[in-house]
């Protein structure tokens, strides 16, 4: 059964289509990342699924219910971590979680939630004294304390330092392994790559790709050789196969090819003949970032892409 079914969902603000005929389904237990640049419509899509915004047209069903008509019983089955919210500063983390736990029919024990989000050591600290990363994890703790079937996370790690991001990721992964469906928005490609088994790419309110990290990477085009040469390198003697890829202005070479074996062999042979040290040489697979940028720049003919 699908946890979420979205069909031609559209939201207009005046003349602007913030979300433009978006359709997708999320099966139970999946961890989906909705990825896109600022203004792509990620938050607006999420707010319609959370019941805070009525769509201009189209339909959404979350756990079989129209979110805009969801009652508190329905809301108790979903967990939300919104962008830029905040918490009362006066109480301790433990007391705050206990208060929120009281809103649900079958809350997770506070101690279990503290462990899930790695806040056991901060349980007796007042919320107002916590760092940004710790507060974000309290936010996640509140999102999951009601044992939600679906957790919506809107840019859960924006503004966190790398260690805090890793901890937040672990919390989300822990939750997903317990069977919770997770939908998160992010503009961090590495976050989506690390966490999600499915990527929905939004640009200008439309889905431009509905894929997996592996498939997106595979569509990222050819592998790449990059090298910046020192001044005085005998660039005039570069093999013809490489010379056409040389930027003579800044002495750098960028070769993109499906098979980089031949140009790499030519480059190494040329360097060997001239006893050059290729200290700046980079050889890389197609990057997810390149594939992402290509996808949001123009619609891709990706498997599963929705027009």
């Amino acid at each position: 059964m699908s946890a979420i079914v979205v069909d031609k969902l559209t939201k207009r603000f005046g003349g602007l289509a913030a979300v433009d005929s978006v359709s997708f389904e999320v099966p139970e237990g999946q961890l989906v990342a909705v990825l896109g640049p600022n203004g792509a419509g990620k938050t607006t899509t999420l707010e319609m699924l959370e019941g805070f915004l009525a769509p201009t047209s189209g339909t959404a069903r979350v756990l079989g219910v129209d979110p805009h008509r969801g009652d508190r019983r329905w809301r108790a089955r979903i967990g939300l971590v919104l962008q830029s919210t905040s918490l009362d500063a006066e109480l301790t983390v433990r007391d705050t979680l206990a208060v929120f736990a009281g809103l649900y029919p079958t809350p997770r024990p506070v101690g279990e939630v503290l462990e899930l989000v790695d806040l056991v050591d901060d349980a007796e600290a007042r919320v107002g004294t916590l760092s940004g990363g710790q507060r974000r994890r309290v936010d996640v703790a509140i999102g999951i304390i009601g044992c939600p079937e679906i957790l919506f996370l809107d840019e859960p790690t924006t503004g966190l330092d790398p260690e805090a991001r890793r901890r937040a990721w672990t919390a989300v992964e822990n939750l997903n392994t317990t069977g919770t469906t997770v939908v998160l928005t992010t503009h961090y490609i590495d976050e989506a790559d690390h966490l999600a088994n499915r990527l929905v790419l939004l640009a200008a309110g439309r889905i431009v790709a509905d894929t997996t990290p592996e498939r997106l990477r595979a569509e990222g085009g050819p592998s790449t050789i990059r090298c910046r040469f020192a001044d005085g390198a005998p660039l005039g003697d570069l093999p013809a196969t490489l010379a056409g890829h040389l930027d003579r202005h800044d002495h750098s070479l960028v070769v993109r090819a499906e098979d980089i074996t031949a140009p790499l062999r030519d480059l190494l042979g040329w360097a060997d003949r001239h006893h050059l040290d290729l200290a700046g040489l980079e050889v890389g697979p197609p990057s997810l970032e390149d594939a992402y940028l290509a996808a949001i720049g123009e619609p891709l003919a990706t498997d599963g892409t929705l027009p």
């Binding site: 603000f13 939300l80 919104l82 208060v99 009281g102 809103l103 509140i142 079937e149």
Partner: protein, 269 residues
């Protein structure tokens, strides 16, 4: 049994339980903040400063300072805290939970009523202990009714007003500007000479009826009037109208726009 099936088959907490928990939570927040001390402390300090060596003070004076403490708490302290919570995103966080929206802001209002009544009671206690105020049991009970109605009226009206206050910086000036003229013309610090039409207006605002109702009940002696039904009715009308306006205009989202799109005004579900 999985977590999911447990969640769907279990009973939701009752509205009464949720409201009681919310009142208790909000009262804890109020009690742990320093802002509340002004409503309790300032009227007592002003009373002592202006009547230091007196051994007896008229019930009308005590009623005025008690109403001052109560309204400071239920209007200014409450209003500023509500705008601060909204602009910081605290209200948005609560809206994302299954707590019925009415429980949230009724919880805030009722917790404020409890603390505002305590602020008023502190001044009355000072009047009894220091200035020979003779409080009868029936007078105290009627005063309590006036306190509760008055605090609810001011807090509900403040809730409605906060919908048009765009920033935290604008909160204190807007609340003060709508507060001091009303309490001055209502004679909270003593009767002032004013045109008849102004006292007529004041008699329909929530301060003057509060002071008047308190003065009668606090000064009650055998053979004299105990309550002023007209004053209590005005306060009750303000409480109901304020609540209706608050429900119609309550904002959950901060005013500052998010991602260049219109901020949403949300009503309770």
């Amino acid at each position: 049994m999985t977590d999911t099936t447990r969640a769907t088959s279990a009973r939701m907490p009752s509205i009464g339980r949720l409201l009681a928990a919310q009142v208790s939570y909000q009262a804890r927040l109020l009690a742990s903040g320093r802002a509340i001390t002004i409503g309790v402390g300032l009227p007592v300090i002003l009373l002592i400063a202006s009547h230091g060596q007196d051994t007896h003070t008229d019930a009308t004076v005590i009623a005025g300072y008690a109403a001052f403490g109560l309204t400071l708490t239920a209007w200014n302290t409450y209003g500023v805290r509500l705008v601060a919570a909204r602009e910081a995103g605290v209200l948005k966080r609560w809206r994302a939970t299954p707590l019925p929206h009415s429980c949230y802001f009724l919880g805030r209002i009722l917790a404020t009523v409890v603390v505002a009544v305590a602020a008023g009671a502190a001044t009355v206690a000072a009047g009894v202990l220091l200035y020979g105020l003779h409080l009868t049991v029936s007078g105290a009970l009627v005063a309590l009714v006036a306190f509760v109605l008055g605090a609810f009226a001011w807090a509900a009206a403040a809730t409605a007003l906060t919908a048009v206050i765009p920033t935290l910086e604008a909160a204190a000036p807007t609340l003060m500007l709508t507060y001091f003229p009303v309490i001055i013309i209502s004679g909270i610090f003593g009767a002032i000479s004013e045109p008849h039409w102004l006292s007529t207006i004041a008699s329909y605002l929530p301060a003057q009826p509060l002071v008047h109702a308190l003065a009668i009940s606090l000064g009650h002696t055998a053979g004299h009037a105990l309550l002023s039904a007209r004053d209590l009715l005005v306060l009750a009308a303000w409480a109901l109208a304020g609540l209706a306006a608050a429900i119609a205009t309550f904002r959950w989202e901060p005013h500052r726009p998010t991602q260049q799109r219109p901020a949403q005004t949300s009503r309770r579900q």
